[in-house]
Amino acid sequence: MHSLHWTSRMISRALRSSFSTLLESATGAGAASKVGEGALKSATPRPHFVSVVCGFAKDNLRHKYKPGKYGEDSWFKASTEQADVMGVADGVGGWRSYGIDPGEFSSFLMRTCERLVQCSHFNPQRPVNLLAYSYCELMEQKKPILGSSTACVLILNRETKTVHTANIGDSGFMVVRQGEVVHKSEEQQHYFNTPFQLSLPPPGHGPNVLSDSPESADTMSFPVEDGDVILIATDGVFDNVPEALLLDVLRDVEGERDSVKLQMTANTLALMARTLSLNSEFLSPFALSARRNNIQARGGKPDDITVVLATVAM
């Protein structure tokens, strides 16, 4: 409960001090940017992502394909003049036994992030704010949305050519440059197989449910160069595909601007993760980490797989 209170109060105070409403009173803003854009072709190339998505739901039979989600995972992509934004969210499956659809929470989180990117108060340097606002929006819905999910959001600020990230839980991202991993997110877990998660518990069960506030997200900011490859994925990928294998695939696609080729690589990655996850003999990263926690495990971890693959083009 505390996390909800604090987040909302923080946001409302921040909003009151800088921009109290979403209303714009000056038309000059719109006109100025239009004049700045001016001619049909731009003078300087703007940094942007060439991005593709691929994935598989764990249980293909139960989940019909719906755009924007793979089973309980969900993703979004959005772009404005100032920034390109991408994100994934992984719904925590444990809610199913309480009659709550875990995919609803993650899907809503991602859809709201997509809408919030277009708002006037979107700050391209604070992905944590995006997650926090999106989380608050959950409570303004007439339809009660329950559940929890991890989240990972990445923003490319065009002007400063930096990427800002925020990660809660065990989804994550990886940045590859010149054949090497230069940035990688850390998994956040309370204990084994229990990642940090944003959650909205059913009324009355607040204290019994693990609920982390958006403030506990890991944030990173780093500059990017032309040709960098960025992979954002849920734990279905990182738990099943060893890093060396990922690196192998990703280094081939550095600097690739053709989205078709990029899509083929994303498909490869997703398929690799899927195959390995269903393999019962293979010592996956998940099995290795389980063994480190004194749990005898072997084989891949069947899970929803979401791969968002992007290259930076300038």
């Binding site: 809408r115 819905q141 339809k143």
Partner: protein
């Protein structure tokens, strides 16, 4: 047409040599047709993002544009920083249309139907004869990117269409023109389908990029939701706009209040500047005088109708009636007619300017023309002013704060009712003035005055001690001020603090209410998210409560004993809104059924634990129930929809059960 002619005349007059301009004109024509051809290829639905920068050409092109931003709105369902059910969703392209359903990505207003008029907190309109037949309940003011001459305005309604009654446009000449007005018949509830509503507009040549849409909710079954607004029209060249704006700056238009509603074209302006005076006045005067003294009698004799009851000796006319009767007759007139009547004759002028006719003033229906001059005129007449409603006026600087303060200082000391909803001209010193001058106030309504820094941050209003109704819907204020006002006004009966819960600690407010304002009849705490069970317990000590709106309060916190205490202590409770109070348990619903004997309106939207049995219990045990809102109660919705309809008929209760119709 006249504006266009004027502008072109002035530009051609300022051209130096005719020959050079001719050749330039030829070149321009060729280029502009070429450009139009290219633009027609690219034209389409220009969003509010980047678009081609058009070359200045005298012939505009057809442009369709969506809302760029929202300037003002009277109410919205969601809280201000949210993007769910708020006015900000009207911006840009439609996100849900043509889907039909209750979606959060749309603009929803706070009320529907006439349920709020039937509630204990309902207010009476001041000077109701001023209001048009279809009164405006809510409005929204939006602006677009480019100036156009409007040919079509399309409103995309995605839920319960049929609330739009007026479309206004704000022209370059700084006047509002009503482009369309609904007739009574237009407001009949339409089919349950989303629609693109584009009524036939007035043929006009005004240039605008700001629209205001007026809504009337009386026929609505449930909330109405707007997804987007589109303005279509012909663009005009930048030069034309510039010249009109310069014209505006030069010509001063003295606005005769209410007698001319916003028409003062360029010709009459020109006439005024020329100091045009007819010079045959004397002759007319004497000839009229002669006619009356010599020929009138004969004229009447020749033209009278044969009537046996006719007594030609004593002809009664209206002005022979006693003064008080005339005053009574004129008291039924609306303000505009009153001004017109004053122009008939000296007698009528004297009667129509009598202060007793100006004891109640409502300028809300005249918001397009309310100005500082009007206030000045009214100040001279309204020496016995008791009730004043200036809501919605002065949105574009037509009323200056200084003028308002002067008005208040002159006439405000006997005010008992003051409504300043959505008055954009208010500043902190105006409010201070209210506090100092109007200490007899019984009702103060300051809805929708949310500014940053908050207007009400002085201890100015703490001077008011007789308040019975205080309405601070969607207005920001300092907690300390509110608490001191609550302590000072022991007779407070109606308090509206909707949307104020973000910056104010509602538990403290609730404690104060229980201590100092035990006569409270209605309390609105919509969206006071951080109200806790302790606050609810405090509220339950106001035993006179008849109306309590706790929508979206308490979040997921459990209510504890609060609801039970409330229902036991307040037997007079008629309206109880528990929208999205997710902590409501089945026991609470049992309590409602057993203790809510006088309940007329009950809103249980979005509460999870509701089952059929509890609903039936409530329907059986609450005999006076008229409205029961069970929308988004997913526990029920999955199954028998028809059962609810059956119960609705059987118990004569209006049961609302909206939900999102398609799954995404």
């Amino acid at each position: 047409m006249s504006l266009l002619a004027l502008a072109q005349a002035s530009t051609s007059a300022s051209a130096s040599t005719s020959s050079s301009s001719d050749t330039e004109l030829d070149a321009q024509v060729d280029f502009s047709t070429m450009l139009m051809h290219r633009q027609r290829e690219y034209s389409g639905w220009f969003g509010c993002g980047t678009k081609m920068q058009p070359e200045p050409t005298d012939q505009g092109y057809y442009l369709e544009q969506y809302v760029l931003g929202v300037l003002d709105f009277s109410s919205q369902y969601g809280i201000e920083y949210s993007i769910s059910y708020t006015a900000a969703n009207v911006v840009g392209r439609p996100s849900k249309f043509p889907a039909y359903g209750d979606y959060p990505e749309t603009f929803t207003m706070r009320t529907y139907g006439d349920w709020w008029q039937r509630a204990p907190s309902a207010t009476q309109e001041i000077q109701p004869q001023n209001l048009p037949k279809l009164a405006t309940h809510d409005y929204i003011v939006v602006y677009f990117e480019d100036y156009v001459v409007p040919t079509e305005v399309a409103i995309f309604e995605t839920f319960n269409p049929g609330a739009v009654i007026r479309i206004w446009a704000y022209g370059l000449t700084k006047h509002w023109t009503c482009l369309w007005e609904a007739l009574d018949t237009d407001l009949a509830p339409t089919s349950r389908n989303s629609r693109r509503f584009a009524p036939p507009l007035l043929k006009t040549t005004m240039i605008t990029k700001t629209l205001r849409i007026d809504f009337n909710h009386s026929q609505l079954n449930y909330y109405t939701e707007i997804d987007a607004i589109m303005l279509c029209g012909r663009t005009v060249s930048g030069r034309l706009i510039q010249s009109i704006l310069e014209e505006q700056a030069r010509v001063y238009k003295p606005h005769s209040p209410l007698s001319k509603m916003g028409t003062g074209g360029p010709i009459s302006c020109k006439l005024r500047t020329l100091k045009f005076k007819p010079n045959c006045r004397e002759k007319n005067d004497t000839s009229l005088h002669e006619f009356i003294s010599n020929d009138l009698g004969k004229f009447l004799l020749d033209n009278r109708q044969e009537d046996p009851l006719d007594t030609p000796a004593c002809g009664m006319c209206v002005t022979d009636l006693p003064f008080e009767i005339l005053l009574k007759i004129l008291s039924y007139l609306d303000l505009q007619s009153l001004f017109s009547v004053g122009r008939v004759s000296r007698t009528f002028y004297d009667i129509s300017t009598h202060p007793l006719l100006y004891a109640e003033l409502n300028l809300k229906p005249y918001w397009p023309v309310a100005s500082s001059e009007l206030l000045c005129t009214l100040a001279r007449r309204a020496t016995m002013l008791r009730k004043l409603d200036l809501s919605w006026c002065g949105g574009f600087n037509e009323i200056s704060p200084t003028e308002f303060k002067k008005f208040l200082t002159q006439r405000g000391d006997n005010l008992t009712h003051l409504r300043l909803n959505s008055c954009k001209f208010l500043n902190a010193s105006c409010i201070e003035n209210v506090g100092i001058v109007c200490d007899n106030l019984i009702e103060l309504s300051l809805r929708n005055c949310a500014t940053d820094p908050p207007l009400l941050n002085f201890s100015c209003l703490a001077n008011l001690k007789n308040l019975e109704r205080l309405d601070l819907f969607q207005t920001a204020f300092d907690t300390e001020l509110l608490l001191s006002m609550l302590e000072g006004n022991r007779k407070l009966k109606h308090l509206n603090l909707a949307f104020c819960g973000v910056s104010v600690n509602m538990d403290d407010v609730a404690d104060h209410l229980a201590t100092y304002n035990t006569q409270l009849i209605s309390l609105d705490l919509w969206k006071a998210h951080f109200l806790s069970a302790r606050g609810l317990l405090a509220i339950s000590r106001c035993r006179q409560l008849e109306e309590l709106d706790l929508g979206w309060c308490l979040r997921e916190a459990s209510l504890g004993d609060g609801l039970f205490q409330l229902l036991s202590n307040c037997p007079k409770l008629r309206k109880l809104f528990l929208s999205a109070v997710r902590g409501t348990t089945e026991r609470d619903l049992l309590h409602i059924a057993t203790l809510g004997k006088n309940l007329e309106q009950l809103d249980l939207m979005g509460i999870l634990n509701i089952t059929h049995e509890r609903v039936f219990d409530i329907l059986v045990h609450c005999p006076k129930l008229q409205l029961l809102d069970l929308s988004f109660c997913d526990n029920i919705m999955e199954r028998d929809f028809d059962l609810l309809a059956e119960w609705s008929r059987q118990f004569k209760v209006d049961i609302k059960s909206s939900r999102i119709f398609d799954t995404r």
